[in-house]
């Protein structure tokens, strides 16, 4: 038990912070309840998926600056394929978009491995490439989304035979996020690939000497990142009902949440739960600032300050812990 708390201290701390923030939201707005949780979950969903994708790449010792642009490509591709399609065709469209995400991520990774150019430079270049691709697919917001897909993340959970009061508070968005993340990441994390991803992030040359195929592992990590980016793009389309070719503010937000979530930039350490909690913390802060009607120009400063303060506070705790 003690070991569990020690190794997951940061994540537990973020969980407590989130609980405190939700409590504060309740104090600011006494009506805050089920619908508030639901809108929070829906707002967090694209950020959370982008963050998870970024976290996997960062754990592998890289960074992917094209995550928001890949989301835009996935969003417009999904919206174009689903426009006027039947439910069955929409399933195929979703599969196609996920495959596209894997391919985009793998291409990013392959370019880094083959050209030996720094990840920052390659993915920055790919950011512009994917932006252009998104505009080629759809030059203005448009397309559509299958109603069943949109319903996946709207409202609370209802189970047959269970009274709505018991499960209705739990937003579908949270369940969707948990399900896809677990479905993709748990098998990877428990396999050799997961170990190798942490290994190359921790020390690539040591991993190489231990027989880890560094290049292939790196490509796999970027491909998983691309898959999550595609899910993030789909979640944008699920929320808006259309595809948007101009990337949203997900790049910087995902890097921020990854850092706040306890993943070490440089790789090798951290998990996915921390970054996801960090996304919810940041979204709740944004909600509270709107509820408090804080001057919008000040709000951005407040958001940034909170982020720095939390990370610095964590660093102080970590140093103290080591000293004791």
């Amino acid at each position: 038990m003690r070991r569990l708390i020690e190794t997951n201290g940061w994540t537990i701390g973020l969980g407590l912070l989130l609980a405190l923030l939700l409590l504060a939201t309740r104090l600011i707005q006494p009506d805050f309840g089920t619908s508030g949780l639901d809108s929070l979950a829906r707002a967090a969903l694209p950020f959370a998926l982008a963050t998870v994708g970024m976290a996997v790449v960062v754990i592998a010792g890289g960074i992917d600056l094209s995550v928001a642009a890949m989301m835009a490509v996935a969003s417009v591709t999904g919206a174009v394929l689903m426009d006027g399609a039947s439910d069955g065709q929409a399933v195929l469209a979703v599969i196609a978009v996920l495959a596209l995400g894997l391919a985009m991520g793998a291409l990013n990774g392959a370019l880094i491995v083959l050209t030996r150019v720094t990840d920052i430079v390659v993915t920055l270049a790919m950011l512009f490439v994917w932006q252009g691709v998104a505009l080629l697919v759809l030059n203005a917001p448009g397309g559509g989304a299958a109603p069943w897909l949109r319903a996946l993340v709207a409202g609370g959970i209802t189970l047959p035979g269970v009274p709505a009061g018991l499960t209705g508070w739990l937003p579908r968005g949270v369940v969707f996020l948990t399900a896809v993340t677990a479905l993709i990441w748990l098998p990877v994390a428990r396999s050799k690939l997961g170990l190798m991803i942490y290994a190359i992030g921790s020390d690539a040359s040591a991993a190489f000497r231990s027989g880890v195929p560094v290049g292939r592992t790196r490509i796999a990590a970027y491909a998983i990142g691309g898959l999550f980016a595609a899910l993030g793009g789909l979640s944008v389309t699920m929320g808006t009902g259309i595809g948007e070719p101009i990337p949203g503010p997900y790049l910087l937000a995902s890097v921020a949440a990854v850092v706040l979530g306890g993943v070490v930039l440089g790789g090798g350490r951290g998990g996915l739960l921390g970054p996801i909690l960090a996304v919810f913390v940041l979204r709740t802060v944004r909600m509270d600032l709107t509820l408090l009607s804080v001057d919008p120009n000040v709000a951005a400063i407040v958001e940034g300050t909170i982020m720095v303060a939390v990370v610095m506070f964590g660093a102080v705790l970590a140093t103290r812990g080591r000293g004791a």
Partner: protein, 341 residues
Amino acid sequence: MKKLLLGTAALALGLGLAGMADAKGYKIGISNTVQGNGWREEMICAMKAQALASGEVESLNIAHRNTDAAGQLEDIRNLIQAGVNAIVVNPANADGINAAIKEATDAGIVVVAVDQAVTEPSAYILSNNQEEYAYLGAKWLFNQLGGKGAVVYMRGAAGAGADNDRDKGFKRAMAEFPGITIAQEVFTGWQQDQGKQQINDIIAAGVPFQGVWTSGIDNVIVDAFVESGAPLVPIVGADNAGFVGQLSSVKGLKGAAVTNPGSVGGAGVELAIQILDGKKPAEKTVLVDPELWDNVSDEGKAKLAAAANPKLSPEWPVSVSIPGWTTYTMDQIIACKGPGE
């Protein structure tokens, strides 16, 4: 003693009235997705000024940041949580925020979309006619060239709804003038620095052209011509204060400003207040049609002279009010203060 009584009574009545005004105080939410652009900043200031001038708004809840439609869904839902009576929104695009607008109107909140339209039928729309904006300016430019020649087509942001509507209007004018060709088509992203770099490149490359149409990034284009010493060609821009000033001050410049009032935001707040007061408009969509002021005709020159205002920031549109809608003063919009600030 009698005087004192009367005075007290008057005071009580006054306080009572003030109390009633307070009771009526509406809470209005605002959502906007472009920050740091002169036009949008004027829009926000017009919203604040109109809320203050109306005397009926107790507080404004402003969600104003750079984000996409998904982020605007979040902002609108947060405003619903904040319990506002009305939401005035400049939509990121026509379809993307319908879900949240429907949730708001279902909760009894009045929603007014300004500047650009939304397709959700429960929302009111008060918007500038963007297609007509491009058509008017392009037609003037093509007439200036005698229906023959090549023009530089400097658009807004690729993929933006307003840019798309303007493109329709531009193409409509093109169809009427078969002798006109496009020398270069670029997206300025509605960014001053980007637009200036692009026109400098085009001038330096020596591409022949006889006119320039801009989607509101205008004063830096004139600057580029003046600084490089290239011969001036007719230029169409928006009614931004800087460009309007240049139309009367730069020697040899022929040009036209098409109005695209950012004060449409103030009109949107006024419309929301009227609906909350029970005065619903006959139509759900109100379009504000643009005007064209050129520095070639006497009528245009008079309009330009009347509109020029050195007190405004050069990126702000000079049409700071919309007759019949906004009731604030020039000083109020420049002060940019809302109720309780």
